[in-house]
């Protein structure tokens, strides 16, 4: 076989594999949404997952939000002071946090922390026959395992993102005003004046959609784990990588779409 044929075959296999995975992810998403309405929500499971995803992720998300806001404010101050634009630092930090940095960084962290945990837990259950045991006991695994994780992440992601925004903007204020001596009144006035409610809405919509992406990809990977302990490691890595890349690609299209929809006038 020639080199060209070999490469074509590899590429074809890669494309087919990606299409198959994407198809599986969309089918699981459809099944999850259908199961939400078909079966009763398991509140105990949902609350347990919300505790793990929402409460236990707070430290990492707040730290990320705080230092992102602080670093961004410092970088902007270094550039803007050369043009005497210090009063524009506030809205710049605030808009950047709302539209991009807040939702993207917060959800990338969630993909790493929560997506990995979901994929690892589900794949361990899969290879130790616990998923089959659920089915043997007459319980639909998507309803029992996927729906609570999906709902918990989709509800928690926007809340965590909102918290990251608040800490990021707050720390940006602290760095600019308290450390670099920018006028606090101007800073805050301009921040409120130029940060639109739509900017916050963009952050929350993005976080919600990223939550859907992370939960669906992680659960799909976990529920389709190949046999063996090596499969768990591979599945977990793939879940985090696939969710993170998908999140970044979708972020571009969401940015274009949401700007077109919300700022068309």
């Amino acid at each position: 076989m020639g080199r060209a044929e070999y490469l074509t075959g590899k590429l074809g296999g890669l494309v087919l594999g990606s299409c198959q995975t994407a198809g599986g992810v969309f089918l699981l998403l459809g099944d999850t949404i259908r199961s939400m309405f078909r079966y009763k929500i398991r509140w105990d499971q949902l609350l347990e997952q919300m505790y793990f995803i929402g409460i236990r992720s707070q430290v990492v998300v707040l730290t990320t939000g705080a230092f992102t806001g602080a670093v961004f404010a410092a970088q902007v101050w270094f550039q803007f002071k050369r043009f005497g634009m210090e009063s524009a630092i506030g809205p710049t930090v605030s808009i950047a946090m709302c539209r991009e940095l807040g939702p993207v960084l917060c959800c990338l962290l969630l993909a790493g922390r929560v997506g990995a945990a979901m994929a690892a837990e589900l794949s361990s259950m899969k290879i130790t026959e616990q998923v089959d045991a659920l089915r043997a006991l007459g319980v639909y695994p998507v309803e029992y395992l996927v729906v609570p994780r999906f709902l918990a992440l989709v509800l928690s992601a926007p809340i965590l993102t909102a918290m990251a925004l608040v800490t990021g903007i707050g720390c940006g204020y602290f760095v600019a005003v308290k450390i670099f001596g920018v006028d606090g009144a101007y800073y805050w006035d301009n921040t409120v004046k130029f940060t639109d409610r739509k900017d916050v809405l963009i952050a929350l919509i993005k976080a919600l959609i990223f939550g859907v992406i992370i939960a669906t990809i992680a659960c799909h990977k976990g529920m389709n784990c190949p046999p063996g302990t090596a499969g768990v490691g591979k599945t977990t890595t793939e879940a985090v990588v696939n969710a993170s890349i998908t999140l970044l690609v979708v972020n571009f299209f969401l940015t274009v779409l949401l700007n077109a929809l919300l700022y068309s006038n």
Partner: protein, 248 residues
């Protein structure tokens, strides 16, 4: 009670089952033996609806189960219990919660009733007092017995055992075999036991079926299997590698 007709299954392009026919009567214990990888566990998974068959039908208590959707399978799954090879206890739940799980799913909410039923099931498998333990704190034999208690807690009509004694020392394996016999007697349920442990097969089987190359090759009572002069059956039963294509 259970009838398998012409069950076929391919896995990874390889034919694993090529037309399995098997019948299990009320209260009967059928042991399916065969070499590793011959499709015994696949057959159990098809009976339980965990894997779809490529051809053939599964008839349980007069109802054709083949082709049912996942949700339509569930009422029948509640009448069939299954002991998995690795026990498959939910490792995030205590022994009590594992055993109470099928009852809660069936709608039982009264904690007193749940406690009584769990205690009763644990007593049958000689695990009284382990309610609060987590599966990770149990030995292999205890895990199997706890899983067995979970499987029988809804008093199924048919029990499927996937390699119940594999990986257990002879004493614990014997206790599991006795338990299988005891459960059959007190609950009157039929069972299919998949194993390659001939001691277990002789002890618990009313009838033994030898699965070879995807089909039931030989079927008979334990005595008939022991007297069988067919080289394939004889070598398997006596544990000889000659004639099987497996030699050192």
């Amino acid at each position: 009670m259970l009838k398998l007709q012409g069950i076929e299954k391919k896995l990874g392009g390889q034919a694993v089952l090529r037309g399995v026919n098997l019948q299990v009567g009320q209260g009967e214990r059928v042991v399916v033996i065969g070499r590793s990888g011959c499709g015994k566990s696949v057959m159990l998974r098809i009976i339980m609806g965990l894997l779809p068959s490529d051809a053939g039908v599964v008839i349980f208590e007069g109802t054709k189960l083949t082709g049912l959707s996942e949700e339509d399978w569930n009422p029948y799954r509640r009448k069939i219990g299954m002991l998995f090879q690795g026990a498959a206890l939910f490792d995030s739940l205590s022994v009590f919660e594992n055993l109470a799980f099928p009852l809660r799913e069936a709608g039982e909410k009264n904690e007193k009733v749940l406690g009584e039923k769990v205690a009763e099931a644990l007593k049958i498998v000689s695990l009284s007092g382990t309610e609060r333990k987590m599966p990770a704190e149990l030995s292999g034999g205890m895990k199997k017995r706890a899983a067995l208690a979970r499987a029988i807690i809804r008093k199924p009509d048919l029990m499927l055992y996937d390699e119940p004694t594999t990986g257990l020392d002879p004493i614990v394996a014997d206790s599991i075999n006795r338990l299988i016999l005891h459960l059959g007697e007190i609950l009157g349920m039929a069972s299919i036991v998949v194993t390659h442990d001939m001691v277990s097969a002789r002890m618990v089987g009313d009838r033994i079926a030898y699965l070879h190359e995807g089909k039931i090759y030989f079927e008979g009572t334990p005595e008939q299997v022991d007297r069988c002069e067919d080289p394939l059956v004889r070598d398997f039963v006596r544990g000889h590698a000659e004639g099987t294509g497996v030699t050192g």
